[in-house]
C-alpha cells in the first residue's frame, strides 16, 4: 500500500510522505484504504493542477487569448456553425417526427426525399453525419484559448476557457443532433443490417 504514495505529487510527498508512511505501517491494508489512497492521489494532482492554472486565469482578467478570426467573431462562428449543422438538424427533426412519433402523413411526405437520399452519392450521407461535429468545432473554437510559451527554460501551456451563451447553445444542439444521428446509425449498423 505504501507504494501508492509514489503516485502523490512530489511536493506533497516531500512534506507529508513520511507521516503517511508511518500511518500506513500501523493500518491493515484493506481494499477500502487502498482505494482511499488512490482517490487521494488523484484529488491532490487535480488540486495541484487547479492551483497552478487558476491564478493565471484570474490575474488581469485571464491570459490573453490567441486571436484567430474565429475568436474575434464568436457570434459569427456560432451562426456559421448553426448553418453547417442546419441540414442535419432538419433531417433529424423531420425523421424523428415521421418515424419515431409516426405523425400521420409525414412518412409518405418524406419518402421521396429518403429515396433520393438513398440514391445520392455517399458524400451526402457523410456530410449529414459529419456536419454536427464540424459545427461543434467551429462553435467551440472561440471559447478555447491555448497558449504555449517558454518561461525560464520550461515549456508552459495555458488553457483559457470562456462561456458565451449562444456558442454553448449551438454546442448543445450539435451534441444532441450529432449524438442522435451517430447512435441511430450505430444501432442500425450493429443490429439491423443483415
Amino acid at each position: 500500500m505504501k507504494r501508492i504514495i509514489r503516485l502523490y505529487p512530489s511536493a506533497w510527498r516531500m512534506r507529508y510522505g513520511d507521516e503517511l508512511t508511518d500511518l500506513l505501517e500501523e493500518m491493515p491494508a484493506t481494499p477500502a484504504a487502498t482505494a482511499d489512497l488512490l482517490r487521494g492521489a488523484v484529488t491532490l494532482h487535480m488540486r495541484a493542477f487547479v492551483d497552478r492554472i487558476a491564478p493565471r486565469l484570474v490575474a488581469a482578467g485571464g491570459p490573453s487569448m490567441p486571436t484567430h478570426p474565429l475568436q474575434r467573431h464568436p457570434t459569427a462562428s456560432a451562426l456559421i456553425a448553426m448553418l453547417i449543422t442546419a441540414p442535419t438538424l432538419i433531417f433529424v427533426a423531420v425523421s424523428f417526427l415521421a418515424y419515431q412519433l409516426e405523425l400521420p402523413g409525414m412518412q409518405a411526405w418524406l419518402q421521396p426525399f429518403m429515396d433520393g437520399l438513398a440514391r445520392a452519392p455517399r458524400i451526402v450521407d457523410l456530410f449529414l453525419l459529419g456536419a454536427p461535429f464540424l459545427a461543434f468545432l467551429v462553435a467551440a473554437l472561440p471559447l478555447v484559448g491555448l497558449r504555449l510559451e517558454r518561461v525560464d527554460g520550461e515549456l508552459r501551456m495555458t488553457l483559457a476557457l470562456r462561456a458565451r451563451t449562444l456558442n454553448l447553445l449551438v454546442l448543445a444542439v450539435c451534441v444532441v443532433v450529432g449524438g442522435f444521428l451517430a447512435s441511430h446509425l450505430l444501432v442500425e449498423f450493429l443490429f439491423e443490417r443483415p
Partner: protein, 74 residues
Amino acid sequence: MLIDVAAFAGVRLGPGTLYGALSRLEEDGLVEALPFEGRRRPYRLTDTGLAALRGRLTGLNAAVSIGLARVGNR
C-alpha cells in the same frame, strides 16, 4: 486522529482522505504542525482555525436546535 474521529463522529476516514484534508487545512492556515513526538506528528488549531471551527459549530448548533425543535413538534 483516525480513531478519535471514528469515536466521536462515527466515521472511518481513509488515510488518503485524512492527509488530503490535513494538507488543505494547513495550506489554509487553519492547523499547524508541531514538532515530531517520536514517530507521530501532532497538529493543532491555529487562532484562525479555532475561529473558523467555532463559527462552523455555532452554525451547525443553530441548525440542529431549529431542526430538533421542528421535529419535536410533530
